[in-house]
Point group: C2
Chain length 366, copies 2
């Protein structure tokens, strides 16, 4: 099933507004979800909608949340997401850190009471497009699937790290990755496609290596290996994941550990630390963008390894996919699409009612 990005965005937006999400917030969330699909990060795309819908219906996500700065200084801010969509709060954070870093050279913001923020890389990319360096770590407010180095049980989230730098005359160079060997969303995407995951990604709840992503979700719950898998890098991946918690959840001082211990109800899903560094306070923005370009070319000049046609920069593959999909449409698994249609019909969305017409008119069919 191929669908044009604009159409998918409109459909998603209608679902959200039907659930009481104000126009501008619905637009933000829809854009972020579809942008994830465009970038090839299906795990953070519209696949998430059924879960978000349920979270709104369960009262976990507050549709008409009031995102606001609750504490600030010239270089720092705490943003209260008011239990609304994390995407909306995270965009606000990106704006705030850029405004502050424009004046002070470096600024960071921290979220409180935020639900899922989507792709961390969306916000660092935005910062890079303002000519600054973006850096982000996020953490998940739950006893996550990553077993810390030396542990047999999951404790940490898939906690992503992202950074992005502006490159002269080209898309930013951007890294956005879980501190596990793969994001949990990737496991969901493999299940939807009916595929096995590569070896060394996951263990079942008994500590055995497996390539069946379903094993991860069975009780007792499995674990995802840190970056490094079973090699010497595992301790580093584990440490990076701990860093994400320490930078975001611990710094916000939400009642995370107490709630976990006492079986309390958590109001938040993601802790998010976002930072902007302004090159104007160092070598100058233009000089920096040119240095990034120099370095990008230096790396791309490397002789490709066997099995590679060229050396790609972090983010380059994703940007190419996005450009292609903007032209050719987004390829959605039937299951994802059917999930959206079913929700759309229940909510009485216009697009799902006139589905056949819409399909004939708007969809790019191949």
């Amino acid at each position: 099933m191929k669908i044009r990005a604009e159409v998918l965005t409109e459909d998603t937006k209608e679902i959200l507004t039907k659930l009481g999400v104000p126009e501008d917030a619905a637009q933000t969330v829809a854009e972020e979800l579809v942008r994830s699909n465009l970038m090839g990060v299906d795990s953070h795309g519209v696949l998430r909608i059924p879960r978000y819908v349920k979270q709104i219906q369960d009262g976990f996500i507050k549709p008409d949340a009031n995102v606001k700065v609750v504490k600030e200084s010239p270089s720092t801010a705490i943003i209260d997401a008011d239990c609304g969509f994390g995407h909306v709060a995270a965009r606000k954070m990106a704006q705030v850190v850029c405004e502050k870093a424009a004046k002070t050279g470096i600024a960071c913001a921290l979220s409180m009471n935020s639900t899922h923020i989507g792709r961390a890389g969306a916000y660092t990319e935005w910062i890079a497009r303002q000519g600054m360096i973006g850096f982000a770590v996020a953490a998940v407010y739950t006893q996550g699937p990553l077993a810390p180095y030396g542990a047999a049980e999951g404790k940490l989230g898939t906690n992503p790290i992202s950074w992005a730098v502006p490159r002269y005359g080209a898309d930013p160079v951007i890294m956005d990755g879980a501190t596990t060997i793969a994001a949990e969303g990737k496991l969901r995407a493999y299940i939807q496609k009916g595929m096995q995951v590569p070896e060394g990604w996951i263990r079942d709840g008994h500590g055995n290596n497996t390539t069946n992503p379903e094993d991860f979700y069975k009780e007792p719950k499995g674990t995802i290996l840190p970056i490094g898998g079973l090699n010497a890098g595992a301790a580093k991946g584990s440490a990076l994941s701990i860093m994400c918690d320490m930078f975001s959840i611990a710094l916000a001082n939400d009642d995370y550990w107490t709630a976990l211990k006492e079986g309390g109800k958590l109001k938040a899903e993601n802790g998010f630390f976002l930072m902007a560094v302004n090159p104007e306070f160092f070598c100058g923005t233009l000089a920096y963008e040119k240095q990034v370009d120099n370095h990008a070319r230096f790396i791309k000049d490397a002789k490709p390894a066997e099995g590679f046609d060229e050396v790609l920069l972090p983010g380059e593959f994703e940007f190419r996919q996005a450009k292609k999909k903007e032209q050719e449409g987004i390829d959605l698994p039937e299951e994802t699409w059917n999930g959206l249609v079913s929700i759309g019909q229940k909510l009485g969305c216009k697009w799902s009612a006139g589905l056949e017409t819409v399909k004939a008119k708007e969809f790019v069919q191949f």
Copy 2:
């Protein structure tokens, strides 16, 4: 050969002062080297002295450098290391970012013209001991041994990332690791001990996997694999290494790529980006240290995996080693010790002249 840390520090200091390094700078460098040995990071310990001595004699390290802030704002600074010891400049940076973050909540500093800084973790640890979050990335000013993801040749340095957070009533939680699967210094340490490295660490210059660390140094030069080795985490390790360059070398705008391309002489060895975040501007310092402690306990509570007695936090193993070695002495390979003695004798150091007496009196023998 076991030697007490204080004795090794004094011996190292005398070598440096004989070469024209002022008293305080010599003290700093000696302390940092010996602290690396105490923490079990032999690759960054006194093993480095022969190389540093040669760099001073070659005019690469300026012994009487004048480290100074050359550009600053309330939250940022550039420190010119004046081609002196990187350790001295990096300590100054740690001090500057803490002073600034005390007032603004977050601050970062960048080095220029710095030689080897030693362990990045030394400076983030110092920041954590001031009650703040320390974060650092460093890069090496050379066409390094890390092959970017998809490349057959080395382009990137072993570029370390370090972060440290203050923990209530305990040592900081601290990560300090190369973005390669192992630091290059580790390969040197394996060679000195006559050992093979684990599989998946290095390739020879023809792209073949090998466990012989000597293969790495033969021409054509070998490569070190990124965190992740040959698994899905390799692209992330490669991206993190690129980040280190982009945050430090590119932001300093030193004439790195021009010099590399045109075979020019580089004045610097390490680019260093160091940052402090002040929890007082978020949840408050005491609350933060207690949250870190909560999280530390939550992680350590995990059931240990097979082959592990307990789950250790990042840095915990190193701090335990340091405490043990402070009591029992530092175990140096004969080759390292003989290298120091030979230099000490050439320079006419008192300690090396009266070696037998010193040995009988000061060394802890087991």
